[in-house]
């Protein structure tokens, strides 16, 4: 029986449970449903939940555990001699799985029946060509042990599948019968179904939290691997970044950290004044009509994919800065530069700063504006002396959020600032950032156990700690701001 059919059966049992549960509750009330603790619908829901949820949980758990169990059993049949030179047991096991899948196909297409298959032996039949006929390609000749393992794999798979179907349907029916029998006028079905909904909410919020923990944990584990292979002192104190895939690399974080901070700084230097001033214009001076048009227009910037910004940096801004600024001033001849990436990233950040600041400035109470105007202040005096100081904590929060966005940006830097890790103060020089180096260390045909690849995780960890810190500061500032007005 296939998975889909099984799922349908569970849904059918649950649906029947809903209908019968309601029916039974109505009967139990003796015609006056007000005697029931809960509405009949809740009784129906409780039967439905008890039928479906435990069965589905079992199904999920089973599907998770079955491959592990089968693999454990089958792995015993593979002899050390079956593992080719330079391969691993895992590769052979994946061969076993593919052969088993192939055999399933052969049987399904009617080229063989089950009894023929049971008699078939790898040393007598050319299994490889048989499998090729149904479109399953196997890399090397199939050894007898692998073939036997594959047959065993198939057998166990079928047997476990049947067991699962029976167990799941049994659980569904048991839940159905038990919960149906429990229905009495006093039964608190509403609390049961509300409790279930609550559990669902908690589980959903746990998904996000646990994922964060999972990401941090995986980063941590790999970072620890890295520091076992490469001294932490060199990583944190060395001023050179020079990975060599033959070994003997210099993996100092400083050139990358410097590049990251430099590009982000240039970006914020551009985005903060422009964003803030456009926010002031939109919230204080622009007419309602203009604001309703201009604000979404600025927010469109936030929707442009960063790779498109990268293209813009590569073909427009980079050459422009080189031809009109860097070369005439004698500061370099590279079109990839900190300035290019910073400027384009600044454009990307404008909507972050302006949109958030605009909301924050709008939240400043009108009474403060009135108070200032009532004293004979002009609009710009009011903005400078009353509104901006009042909105300042919120604006700082907006800037910090933009900053953590800038630090994590990759695409614009790859295309705008280049990939040369350098410690330099000339903004027209190519430099690179942590994120770019993470990408370049992990892409390509590299072994996953050398410090040159694992350094990516240590870099990621540093970046994570950095942006987490910024976010915490931003949250703290924003929260403090919220307390300012009632």
């Amino acid at each position: 029986m296939t998975f889909g059919v099984l799922l349908l059966i569970i849904v059918a049992i649950a649906a029947a449970g809903y209908v019968l549960g309601r029916q039974r509750a109505r009967n139990a009330s003796g015609g006056d449903t007000r005697r029931l603790h809960s509405l009949t619908g809740y009784h129906g829901q409780s039967v439905m939940l008890f039928s479906a949820v435990p069965a589905l949980l079992l199904l999920g758990l089973w599907l998770l555990l079955q491959p592990m169990l089968i693999e454990n059993r089958v792995a015993g049949m593979i002899q050390p001699g079956d593992i080719p030179e330079g391969g691993s047991a895992e590769l052979v096991m994946s061969d076993v799985r593919r052969v088993a899948d192939g055999l399933d196909l052969v049987v399904a297409q009617g080229a063989l029946n089950e009894s023929d298959l049971a008699a078939m032996r790898a040393d007598l039949t050319n299994v490889r060509s048989r499998l090729a006929e149904v479109g399953v390609a196997v890399g090397s000749e199939i050894s007898p042990n692998v073939f036997q393992a594959a047959k065993e794999y198939r057998r166990l798979d079928t047997r476990f599948g049947t067991a699962m179907t029976i167990a799941v349907i049994a659980v569904a029916l048991a839940g159905f019968a038990l919960s149906l029998r429990r229905i009495t006028p006093e039964y608190r079905a509403r609390n049961v179904s509300e409790g279930f909904v609550l559990t669902l909410f908690i589980a959903s919020s746990l998904v996000a939290i646990l994922t964060t923990f999972g990401i941090v944990a995986s980063l941590l584990v790999e970072s620890v691997h890295f520091f076992q292979l490469y001294p932490a002192k060199d990583f944190f104190l060395s001023l050179t970044w020079n990975p060599q895939f033959r070994g003997g690399s210099d993996l100092g974080i400083w050139p990358l950290l410097w590049g990251t901070l430099y590009v982000s700084f240039v970006a914020l230097l551009f985005a903060v004044p422009v964003g803030l001033m456009s926010a002031i214009y939109l919230s204080e001076y622009a007419s309602k009509r203009l604001r309703s048009l201009a604000k979404p227009a600025i927010e469109i910037l936030a929707g442009i994919p960063t790779i498109v910004y990268g293209l813009f940096a590569l073909v427009t801004v980079g050459p422009f800065l080189r031809d009109y600024f860097a070369q005439p001033m004698g500061l370099g001849s590279s079109s990839s530069s900190v300035m290019t990436a910073g400027l384009v990233m600044g454009i990307m950040l404008i909507p972050f700063v302006s949109s958030l600041s605009d909301d924050i400035i709008n939240a400043v109470p009108q009474s403060l504006r009135d108070g200032s105007y009532g004293l004979g202040a002009t609009q710009s005096e009011t903005v400078r002396q009353v509104i901006l100081p009042a909105a300042l904590p919120g604006i700082v929060g907006a800037i910090l959020l933009a900053a953590s966005r800038a630090i994590g940006e990759t695409m614009i830097v790859v295309m705008g600032a280049g990939a040369a890790a350098k410690l330099d103060i000339n903004p027209f020089e190519a430099m690179t950032t942590i994120t770019v180096k993470i990408v370049s260390q992990l892409t390509g045909d590299t072994e996953f156990a050398s410090p040159e690849t694992l350094v990516a995780f240590a870099l990621g960890m540093c970046l994570f700690v950095f942006t987490l810190g910024l976010n915490i500061v931003a949250l703290y500032v924003v929260r403090k701001y919220r307390e300012q007005y009632e």
Binding site: S287, K288, P365, S367, L368, R369, D370, G371, S372, Y373, G374, L375, G376, A377, T378, E381, Q385, V386, P389, A390, Q484
Partner: protein, 265 residues
């Protein structure tokens, strides 16, 4: 009413500070103020009374052009301050508001220190030449608002940390520090407890020696206590305007009588 003594209050014949003729105010299509004529005397407290929504606050805000900040609001008619039309094109509303100060219904101190709140007006108008002079203005204004003794030791503390009554007196000090000629007060005591109200009322009486004060109030007792002249608004019309004692003891219009005896409102 319990304020019969009001008839004895002397009302000097002061010069007219503000004269309004045929004032109409529209909010979009709503006709909020209908043909109001009023003369506000200098060094006098004038009270505007009337039921909610009758237009008294709207009219008050016409006198320093605060309605300019509301897009849909349109003012017609003629309002003169010392004989000059305040809606004339040559008049800068900002300068007008320096002369016609305003205190609002809800205390609205700026999120700055007490000192900076009071010094705000003098600073933006460049009224003082030295720090010492500014200190003096701040102290004088706070004293006049009867707040000095409570805050003199914490002038650098935030103004928002004061109690509601103190905040409102701070706002009055802030308005006084700009040395206006007219002070508009829009229900200045509605957010205050009786003790703070008494302090503010006392203050209003003292301010009268220097400015023309116009106060909008919902409390008829308050109007009777602090004002020399009273205007009664109803549904956007100025129903009756005269000496406070006259209005409260012997109103000429039946609507005024109904309102002050509590039958309409």
């Amino acid at each position: 009413m319990n304020d019969m003594r009001l008839t004895e209050k002397s009302v000097e014949a002061n010069d007219t500070k503000i004269s309004a003729r045929g004032v109409q105010v529209y909010y979009g299509d709503t006709h909020a103020i209908k043909d109001v004529d009023v003369d506000i005397a200098d060094q006098t407290v004038t009270a505007f009374i009337g039921p909610s929504g009758c237009g008294k606050s709207t009219f008050l805000r016409c006198l320093n052009r605060m309605n300019d900040t509301i897009d849909v609001c349109r003012v017609e008619g003629n309002i003169k301050l010392d004989g000059d039309d305040i809606y004339d094109k040559r008049v800068d509303p900002v300068q007008l508001r320096a002369k016609v100060g305003m205190v609002f219904q809800k205390p609205n101190p700026f999120p700055k220190s007490i000192y900076d709140n009071v010094a705000y007006g003098p600073r933006i108008h460049g009224l003082t030449r030295s720090k010492a002079e500014l200190d003096e203005v701040v102290e004088k204004s706070l004293r006049r608002a009867a707040l000095w003794n409570e805050v003199k030791d914490r002038l650098q503390a935030p103004g928002t940390g004061l109690s509601g009554g103190q905040q409102q007196r701070l706002c009055i000090a802030r308005a006084v520090a700009t040395s206006p000629e007219v002070l508009l007060m829009d229900e200045p005591c509605s957010a205050l407890d009786p003790i703070a109200t008494a302090q503010v009322e006392e203050l209003i009486d003292e301010l009268r020696s220097r400015f023309a004060v116009i106060i909008v109030t919902h409390s008829m007792q308050q109007a009777a206590r602090v004002s020399q002249r009273t205007a009664f608004f109803h549904l956007g019309n100025l129903v009756e305007f005269g000496e406070t004692g006259q209005i409260f003891t012997n109103p000429s219009d039946p609507r005024t009588e109904s309102y002050i005896t509590g039958r309409i409102g």
